[in-house]
């Protein structure tokens, strides 16, 4: 089956720093989602990005489907950015398969 790996697994940033999170997937996909899981466990949709680049405030994402990876950029990080970031891709039968996650801690 498809493999989805994220890097780094853990990241600690000083508030105000920038970061790049990576998602590699083993098979071709027709869409990809990025989520932020906050400390209360809620999964918040960040981007639905099959290809190309999208931006939303301090966050942006780029998916290069032909090379099977996606990047999530966080600029000017804030403590509220802390949590776990997941990418997820669809598999054949209605399954949204999640990556391993990146745990981000932003310290003031």
């Amino acid at each position: 089956g498809i493999q989805v790996e994220q890097s780094p697994p853990d990241l600690i940033l000083q508030e105000g720093a920038n970061s790049t999170l990576r998602c590699n997937f083993s098979d071709s996909v027709n869409n990809l989602q990025w989520f932020h899981q906050n400390p209360w466990g809620q999964l918040i949709n960040l981007f639905y990005i099959p290809s190309g680049t999208k931006q939303n405030g301090r966050l942006s994402a780029t998916t290069v489907a032909t090379e099977r990876y996606s990047l999530l950029y966080i600029s000017s990080s804030q403590t509220t950015d802390s949590g776990v970031y997941f990418c997820a891709v669809p598999t054949g039968a209605n399954n949204l398969f999640f990556g391993t996650g990146t745990r981000l801690t932003v310290i003031p």
């Binding site: 466990g41 999964l43 776990v84 997941f86 039968a93 399954n95 391993t100």
Partner: protein, 111 residues
């Protein structure tokens, strides 16, 4: 706009007791519905999905079952909980090939 409701938010149940978690979606028709479990703070595992009323597909053999009695209602159940059923359960909805949205989750502790 579409919204998804999941309850309860937290639940502590003794081993051997039954379980019923409910999820409802508003603002859409005939959605795909999903139950996921997160056991260790990262990594979501698909348990069940449904493409329509009464249609349930199981991804992982386990002590749980799911039902979809109405178009926008998805229920996760167990007749007798095990310690290993503890975890964070998330309901989600989405259209085929489109963006998925998650409920707020239920944190289940089996004692």
């Amino acid at each position: 706009s579409q919204t998804i409701h999941q309850w309860p938010a937290t639940l502590v149940q003794p081993v051997g007791s039954p379980l019923s978690l409910e999820c409802t979606v508003e603002g859409t028709s005939n959605p795909n519905l999903y139950w996921y479990r997160q056991a260790a703070g990262r990594g979501l595992q698909l348990l069940f999905y449904s493409v329509g009323i009464g249609q349930i597909s199981s991804e992982v053999p386990q002590n749980l079952s799911a039902s979809r009695p109405q178009d926008r209602q998805f229920i996760l159940s167990s007749k007798k909980l095990l310690l290993s059923d503890s975890g964070f359960y998330l309901c989600a909805w989405g259209g085929r090939g489109s963006e998925a949205f998650f409920g707020q989750g239920t944190r289940l502790t089996v004692v």
